[in-house]
Symmetry: C2
Subunit: 220 residues, 2 copies
DNA sequence: GACCGTATAATTGTATACAGAAATACAATT
DNA sequence: AATTGTATTTCTGTATACAATTATACGGTC
C-alpha cells in the first residue's frame, strides 16, 4: 500500500492533525500577512493564534533558524524581507540541491521509493490529461519530495522541503500559462526516464533544464 | 578599520558575550558528548547548563531545525546520528553551495569586502609562513566567511556557516599532513586570484578543486 | 516465568509570573 | 521648537506552575 501525503498540512513530524503553529506562521509571513520589517510582538501573536507565549516563542526561534525572521536581543522578532534578487537566487540554490538530489536519488533509490515515484508520475499524467492545475501543483511537489527522500540525506531533504514551502506560497500569486501542464509533464518525464535508465548524469541534466525553465516561468 | 571575528564564540547575532546556550549545545552534540540516539532530557540539560527549561526548549527547537536533534511529540529530543555517508555527502552539499557562493561573490563583492578578503588572504600567507596551524584553521574559516558575505545572500550564508560549524568540530579530530598549510594556501590563492581577475568561472573551478581536495584530506 | 492492567512517577506541552531591558510619554530646559 | 532627563509602560528573557502524556514499577493472572 502506498500512502500519499501531499496535503502539505502535516509538516513531517510533530503536527497535531491541524496545521501546526509553525506552519501557520510560515504561511502568514510568506503570504505577506506580516510585512517585511514588521515587528512580531509576542502578545499580539498570542491573541492571533490563541496560544500562550511559550509555543509562540519556540515557533519564532524556528522561524529564525529558517531565516524568515530576525531576532534582535531584547528587542524582538522582525519579519525578514526578500528582494527580487533573493527570489531569483533561490532558484539557483534550489537548482544546485535538486541536481545533487536527483544524482543521489538515482543511485540510492529503493524499490519501494521507485514504486512511489512511478505512481506519482502516473498521477501527473492523469491530472495533466484532466487539466487539473490545483492537483497538479500538489503532485508536482510530491514528485520532488519522493526524489528528496530517495536521495537519503536528511539535510538535503530538510533544505529542499523548506525551499518548496517558500516557493509554494510564492507560486500562489503566479499566473500559469496555457501549456504549463504539458510542458511540466514532459520535463518530469525526462527526469523520471533517468530513474528507469539508472542514469544520474541524464537525471542531473533533465533536472537542470527543469529548474532553469521553472525560473523563466517564475513558478515551481 | 577592519575588524575580525574569527573566534567563533559569537554566533552572528544574539550572543551575550560568552558562548550562547545554542552554541554550547551544538558543540556538545557535534563533539560527541551526547551520543547519537541519546535522549536529551530537559531537566538534565537544565542542571548541565544552569538555566531553566524555557531557554533549553528554545535552543532545542533551533537544533531541531538545524537537523542536529529530532523532536518526537510528547517524547522528547533525541540526538541525530550521522553516518560516514552523511559526512561524505556534506562535502558535496557544501561544494554545491560554495561554488555558487564564489560565483555570486565575485560578481557582487563590494570594495570593503574585497579589502577584507585581501587582508584575510595575507594573514593566510603569514600564518602559513609561520607554520601556525591553529591560527590557520581560524583564518581559513574566515576566508570562506568573507566570501559568503560577499555573495550577499542570507540563506546561502546561513547554510554555509552552519556547515562550517559542523565541519569545524569534526575537524578537531583530524590529523593534518605536513604540507597541509602550503597546499591549502595555494588552493586559496587560486580562489583569491579569481576575485582580483573578476572571473567567476575560474573562481568556481578553483573552489571545486579546493573542496574536492578537502574531501580527500577529510578536513576543511 | 511471562503477560497484562493499574497506579505511580517522570517528562513533555502549555500557561503564567516575575525580573530586566527597551520603548514611550511627558515635563523641564535650552 | 528642539532636546534632554525622568517616569511610566510595554515587551522580552527567564523561571516556575500546572495539565496532559508517556514511561516505569508493581501486583495479579495465566
Amino acid at each position: 500500500m502506498v500512502r500519499y501525503q501531499f496535503g502539505g498540512e502535516s509538516e513531517l513530524s510533530n503536527a497535531p492533525m491541524s496545521m501546526s503553529l509553525l506552519g501557520k506562521l510560515q504561511r502568514d509571513i510568506l503570504t505577506g500577512k506580516y510585512r517585511p520589517g514588521q515587528k512580531l510582538t509576542e502578545q499580539n501573536l498570542c491573541k492571533e493564534y490563541g496560544v500562550s507565549r511559550t509555543p509562540i516563542r519556540e515557533a519564532l526561534r524556528q522561524l529564525e533558524t529558517d531565516g524568515l525572521v530576525e531576532n534582535i536581543l531584547n528587542r524582538g522578532c522582525f519579519v525578514i524581507g526578500f528582494s527580487e534578487q533573493d527570489y531569483e537566487d533561490l532558484f539557483d540554490l534550489r537548482k544546485a540541491y535538486e541536481i545533487q538530489a536527483v544524482k543521489w536519488a538515482i543511485d540510492r533509490i529503493t524499490d519501494d521509493e521507485m514504486d512511489r515515484l512511478e505512481e506519482t508520475f502516473e498521477f501527473m499524467e492523469f491530472y495533466t490529461m484532466r487539466g487539473d492545475l490545483d492537483k497538479m501543483l500538489v503532485i508536482n511537489a510530491g514528485f520532488h519530495q519522493v526524489i528528496y527522500e530517495a536521495a537519503h540525506n536528511r539535510m538535503l531533504q530538510k533544505t529542499l522541503t523548506s525551499y518548496q514551502t517558500f516557493l509554494r506560497y510564492q507560486g500562489m500569486n503566479m499566473v500559469y500559462g496555457p501549456d504549463y501542464l504539458t510542458t511540466v509533464l514532459e520535463e518530469h518525464r525526462a527526469i523520471f526516464k533517468a530513474f528507469t535508465d539508472h542514469d544520474p548524469k541524464a537525471g542531473a541534466e533533465a533536472m537542470e533544464r527543469h529548474i532553469n525553465r521553472a525560473k523563466e516561468r517564475r513558478c515551481g
